[in-house]
Amino acid sequence: MISPFLAAAVALAIAFIIAYWVTRRRLEAVRAELAAATDRAAVSSDSDLAAMARLSALLDALPVGVIVIDDDARVVAFNAGATEILGVQAERPVGRALIESVRSYDLDRRLLAALREGVEGTADVPLHAASDRNLRITTKAVHAADGSTEAIAIVEDLTRVRDLEAMRRDFVSNVSHELRTPLSAMKIMIETLQSGAGGEAAAGFLRSLAAETDRMVVLVEDLLDLARLESGKLDMRFGSVDLVELCRDVVASHLPRARRLGISLLATLPDGKVTIIGDRDKLVQVMVNLLDNALRHTPSGGHIDAGLSSAPGLATLYVKDDGPGIPYDALPHIFERFYVVDQSRSRSAGGTGLGLAIVKHIVEAHGGSVTVESELNRGTTFRCTFSI
């Protein structure tokens, strides 16, 4: 006979087993579901991360600065361009208020105005950081689908553009000045001739007129050459050029002038040939300009050594004088157009201020480089190095 206790106990045990089994199955199902969900989440955050990395790489590739701030005015994007233009370390700005990293009241104010009041626009503002810059800032509000607002600023660096504009203005005013000065002198001489000057005076005026005209022809030719060189439109006729022969010829053609000026000019040349691929006429012009420059700046009794030295794979044309030298702070500028170290002296010496600019362009068009070394009262050496 089965006691009712035992029956109850067995029933309870069976119920327990069933409950345990059902719960376990359910738990397993939940666990499986959880695992699946976690997997899905991992996959989607992986692809989110990839998309964000791609976006930030794209932003970094832009040549302008891009700054995005979120609803709370915290920086959420700050690309490489912004880092460079605004001079900030790359990882610092994100997650903070912009003013904490970029101390520009204007930029901050405009970005906040776009975010909070929807005031958008473009403005040129100066940035006074480690180095002063001119910036153009464009700000816009961006409304996301979820109702949140962000603001974006595009920052362009106009410093270089402004510098170039200033250079262009200087150039135009220089050209006008260089052309007008001889013209006014010529006009006065012509007027005097017209009013009936004759004899020795007239002959003198005509000689001066011819000299001024020559100077202007040289200047205009130099200008045209330079313009063609700079725009890459100058025809270069490349061929094989023996620099030894070239140097010997140019020095020989300048010997009479050196003798007249009381300057000793000699050429130091290696035996045999040193040949490069180049445009002979243009290379002659390089050597002529450098020699002309040295002859104009070396006082009577001075020495000029022009020559060629070669190392494996390289050939260097040089012109060395023992003239007054170039002041240290003028050295970086001497290859600029119309730069003359001493205005008063150079004018009387008859330079156009374009010769060295032309030298630099021609040498660089040959893939070479030109350097200058100078010491006050000791002399100056120009070197043009070409690969053979």
Partner: protein, 246 residues
């Protein structure tokens, strides 16, 4: 005001201090630019700047006092608020000095320069650099930088002595230079004071971060020897004038 609200307002107020700092920085730069170029329009612009600076000053002060009164902040938060209340006084003074320089620019605009300005722009650059770094130290809560920056004040003081001596010599030689010379001495003095205010900002930042109260240094530039030298020069000039008179 909930606690998170407290931190939001505290953060915004700190950002306002940086905004005020960047305005002040720009004001110094423009003031010295205007002076060097005798640019009256730019000088006028700086005088308008002062309104923005004052607005920010009032906003920061009000926020700080509200936070103190309503939240009873403690420790670091309390020190930050106290430091901000001090820092804005220094910033406001710097802004005033920029205005003083702008006024002098307007006053001197029609007078010829004594000589090209070299040391005054140099002083301005140093003072500006100190202020910028002091504000960086505040933004980054960087006590190390805050301790390092004040050493740069020596260079500004040295430049001040040079400018002072040079201008005294100019004025001693040529009484016509007195108006310009004395005004430029004031400009140099303002720039020297600006560097001192930047030093104060650094000391406040160090206190804010480290919590160690420190007495502010009073910066006095010794110029007695220079002034005495100036007296001699003036006497010499007078004697020369007396004997040279017909």
């Amino acid at each position: 005001m909930a606690r998170e609200n407290f931190h939001r307002i505290l953060n915004e107020t700190q950002q306002d201090v940086l905004r005020m700092g960047s305005l002040v920085e720009e004001a110094i730069t423009k003031a010295v630019d205007a002076l060097a170029r005798s640019d009256i329009a730019l000088a006028e612009e700086i005088l308008n700047f002062d309104d923005y600076i004052d607005d920010l000053n009032v906003r920061i002060e009000t926020n700080c006092l509200n936070l103190l009164a309503l939240q009873q902040p403690m420790a670091s938060d309390l020190r930050t608020i106290a430091a901000m209340l001090d820092i804005i006084i220094d910033l406001e003074r710097i802004g005033d000095h920029a205005c003083d320089i702008a006024q002098i620019t307007k006053h001197l605009a029609n007078e010829p320069q004594l000589k090209p300005m070299i040391d005054i722009p140099r002083m301005a650059a140093r003072a500006r650099e100190m202020l910028r770094e002091a504000l960086d130290a505040f933004a980054n809560r960087d006590a190390t930088a805050a301790h390092r920056i004040p050493a740069k004040d020596d260079e500004v003081d040295r430049l001040y002595r040079t400018v002072f001596k040079e201008l005294i010599e100019f004025m001693a030689k040529d009484p016509k230079a007195i108006n310009r010379g004395s005004n430029l001495i004031l400009v140099a003095l303002y720039l020297e004071r600006i560097a001192d205010h930047a030093t104060n900002v650094c000391e406040r930042v160090a206190y804010m971060v480290e919590g160690v109260p420190k007495k502010l240094k009073r910066s006095v530039v010794e110029i007695n020897d220079v002034a005495a030298h100036g007296d001699e020069l003036i006497r010499a000039a007078r004697v020369e004038g007396a004997t040279g008179a017909p």
